[in-house]
């Protein structure tokens, strides 16, 4: 298990105190929600597709070993090398071994959350290798030496002015904040690197067992360049990415672009079934795939939580999450953020290491409503919260308060007294003030206790009804 422990409070405070970040995220999420809603409304079949996708994933998880073996066998027949990595360390080492074997210096990368999960870039940098991110948002983030703040739009937290200044400083160009001009600068810089690259590293959105192919979905064409221009292509993906066949893939190719970017279809859907250089004079000469476990088989053992492996990383849950809208992606402290992130981090990193994560939710359920594969995120969060409590990862003070409340709640007379007392005591405070609670009221107000209390008001209401 990953030994990383998430220290989220300073990250959350930093985010809350950044008005530019919050404004940028809020604007982006509002427009994304509107676009997606408009598109979904055009499809009578939307719920049917969700049901189908959920059932396909359910089937795959029930037979994951068979589908993985089928995928491996079909890939091998076509000359694709399939490697298996138990954990992040092994995946990183496999990547490095391949790079060293081919004496590679020049690497381009397309967007891969899995590679960020295993901290591949940092590991390669330590070994003197500098992979260049080619997705525009990832390229910007890499220049700024930050981590992505959204699954799909990594640089959403940055304004065009910040990006303009960044390009001016790092690339030596005249300042501009025009997105089209900034794109042209990046296009030119990256085109040179694409043409000279010796290896392309990618992830994959899906892996299709029959006939043994990867599916990479994108809008920029950088993933196509990454997988077709260099002679060696390395793809790293989680074992849960498997789909049975192209008919299953067709359903997911409907759900993913609508959910991720409010498109009926992503601009490019690359289906890579073989290294093509020998036959076509272009494309990869060698194709390598690393299938990564890194805790996924452990999650699979839980009959409820295995549903969190259905995720197709569309980001729809983030886009609809009121918590994410307020704090952005960096505050989650890990590569997977938002509602799906807070279900995954305790499972991947450990209940104690990610004890705060499941609580970064209002349990409003918006994520479940928009999830294309119908992952019941709120249900899993309640379960994970229980796990955190049972692992005794919550603070002793919190545990004491909960035990005290439980004791009162079982004793109606004492409970009545306990709720009557604060209402009277607060009369000692100014009329617009509420009781402070250490830790809780630093960034929020408890609110004033009602002077009568619910019980008394309810008795009055019953009396009135009786008189009517």
């Amino acid at each position: 298990m990953n030994s990383q422990s998430l220290k989220l409070k300073p990250l959350i405070s930093e985010a809350i105190e950044d008005p530019q970040l919050r404004s940028a995220v809020r604007k982006a999420m509002q427009s994304t929600r509107e676009s997606r809603a408009g598109l979904v409304a055009q499809y009578d079949e939307w719920q049917h597709w969700r049901d189908r996708a959920h059932a396909i994933k359910h089937e795959v998880m029930n037979h994951l070993d068979e589908y993985l073996e089928q995928f491996e066998s079909n890939c091998a027949k076509k000359g694709i090398h399939v490697h298996w990595a138990r954990d992040a360390e092994q995946a990183r080492q496999l990547s490095l071994d391949l790079i060293k074997h081919h004496k590679i210096k020049n690497i381009v990368k397309s967007k891969s959350l899995t590679s960020e999960e295993i901290h591949l870039n940092a590991f390669l940098e330590k070994n003197g290798i500098h992979p260049l991110e080619t997705d525009l948002g990832e390229y910007i983030i890499q220049l700024k030496q930050q981590t992505p703040s959204h699954l799909i739009i990594p640089a959403i937290h940055l304004s065009r002015q910040e990006i303009g200044r960044l390009f001016q400083e790092k690339l030596g160009i005249d300042y501009t904040d025009d997105p089209e001009e900034l794109l042209q600068v990046a296009r030119q810089k990256l085109r040179e690197r694409f043409l000279a690259a010796e290896m392309g590293i990618s992830g994959a959105n899906f892996a299709v067992a029959d006939p043994g192919a990867l599916c990479i979905v994108e809008n920029e064409a950088n993933a196509h360049h990454t997988t077709h221009l260099p002679p060696i292509h390395l793809a790293i993906l989680g074992i849960e990415k498997i789909l049975p066949d192209y008919e299953a893939l067709a359903t997911f190719l409907r759900l993913l672009p609508v959910s991720a970017t409010s498109q009926k279809a992503s601009t490019y859907v690359n289906i890579l079934a073989e290294p093509t250089f020998e036959r076509m004079g272009e494309g990869a000469k060698e194709m390598h795939i690393i299938l990564l476990d890194n805790g996924r088989s452990r999650i699979l053992a839980d009959p409820q939580l295995r549903e969190t492996l259905f995720c197709i990383r569309c980001g729809a849950c983030l886009n609809h999450c009121p918590v994410y809208e307020h704090i952005g992606g960096h505050a989650y402290g890990w590569v997977y953020m938002g509602p799906i992130g807070i279900t995954l981090s305790p499972q991947f990193l450990g209940r104690k290491e990610a004890k705060m994560s499941p609580f970064l939710s209002s349990l409003c359920g918006a994520c479940y409503e928009v999830c294309p594969v119908k992952i019941n995120i709120p249900h899993h969060l309640v379960r994970l919260r229980n796990d955190v409590i049972e692992s005794e990862a919550n603070s002793p003070l919190e545990a004491l308060v909960i035990r005290a409340w439980a004791a009162l709640a079982q004793r109606p007379q004492l409970y009545r007294m306990a709720t009557w007392l604060p209402g009277k005591a607060q009369q000692l405070l100014p009329k617009d003030k509420a009781f402070p609670v250490p830790g809780y009221t630093k960034e929020r107000s408890l609110g004033r206790f009602d002077s009568k209390g619910f019980r008394n008001r309810f008795h009055e209401w019953q009396k009135q009804r009786g008189q009517q």
Binding site: N62, I153, L182, R187, M280
Partner: protein
């Protein structure tokens, strides 16, 4: 060294697969029926092409119907003038023959270029013309199957791409495409010019691929001629 690495790899493979099997046995989750895919569009080709055009234009593509060779030649000439060049690349020998003209250099036949020089050549090519496999009406997409002598670099490195699709090669959606074609090779679906919205969600065309995509429905007789 290679033998040791292979052994270690098999250990990992076996461990992962065993862990998955044990997880399945522990979870004991029953099967669920998978709902069949529903058909979302009518199958009449007369209705599919208008839908394709509507979707393609919505995603900033351009659409033409080509009745004969003269129409194709005029289209290419017009676009070359717009681009301010008379040089372009083609994906098939038949296109090289059909689109040659006295007043401009013969188009480059990409599959016959040296693989090393090809990418440099295409990097500076403003226009590429190629023949695609199928049109997908639901999304305004074009499917390009990797054949024996095909190439894809021109579809991604050039500034403007013209893709020709046979009138008879149109399907409702990707489900129908996969059922009908059952591809065994690599392929790519193309839906409009390349784009990004990574800077403040402002949509900009021409990210790392073409900034302009033109799709032509080619009447069947012309398609036979070009094939």
């Amino acid at each position: 060294m290679a033998k040791a690495e292979g052994a270690a790899m098999n250990d990992s493979r076996d461990k992962i697969l065993n862990d998955i099997r044990q997880a399945r046995d522990k979870a004991q989750v029953s099967s669920e029926a998978i709902p069949e895919e529903q058909e979302s569009l009518p199958g009449n080709p007369d209705e599919l092409w208008p839908r394709f055009e509507q979707e393609l234009v919505r995603i900033a593509g351009e659409f033409h119907i080509l009745e004969d060779l003269g129409a194709l030649q005029a289209l290419v000439t017009g676009i070359l003038q717009q681009l301010g060049t008379n040089e372009f690349a083609v994906g098939r020998a038949s296109l090289q023959k059909a689109l040659g003209a006295n007043d401009r250099p013969r188009p480059v036949l990409v599959p016959e270029t040296d693989p090393v020089e090809r990418r440099t050549l295409l990097d500076t090519t403003k226009l590429a013309v190629s023949m695609a496999s199928f049109a997908i009406a639901e999304t305004g997409s074009v499917a390009f199957l990797y054949g024996e002598k095909s190439e894809t670099l021109s579809l991604f490195l050039s500034e403007c791409v013209i893709l020709l699709v046979a009138e008879k090669h149109i399907v409702r959606d990707k489900t129908e495409f996969f059922r009908r074609v059952r591809p065994g090779t690599s392929l790519v679906f193309i839906s409009g010019p390349s784009r990004t919205a990574d800077i403040e969600k402002v949509l900009v065309l021409g990210a790392h691929g073409p900034s302009r995509l033109v799709v032509c429905c080619v009447r069947n007789a012309l398609w036979e001629e070009l094939s």
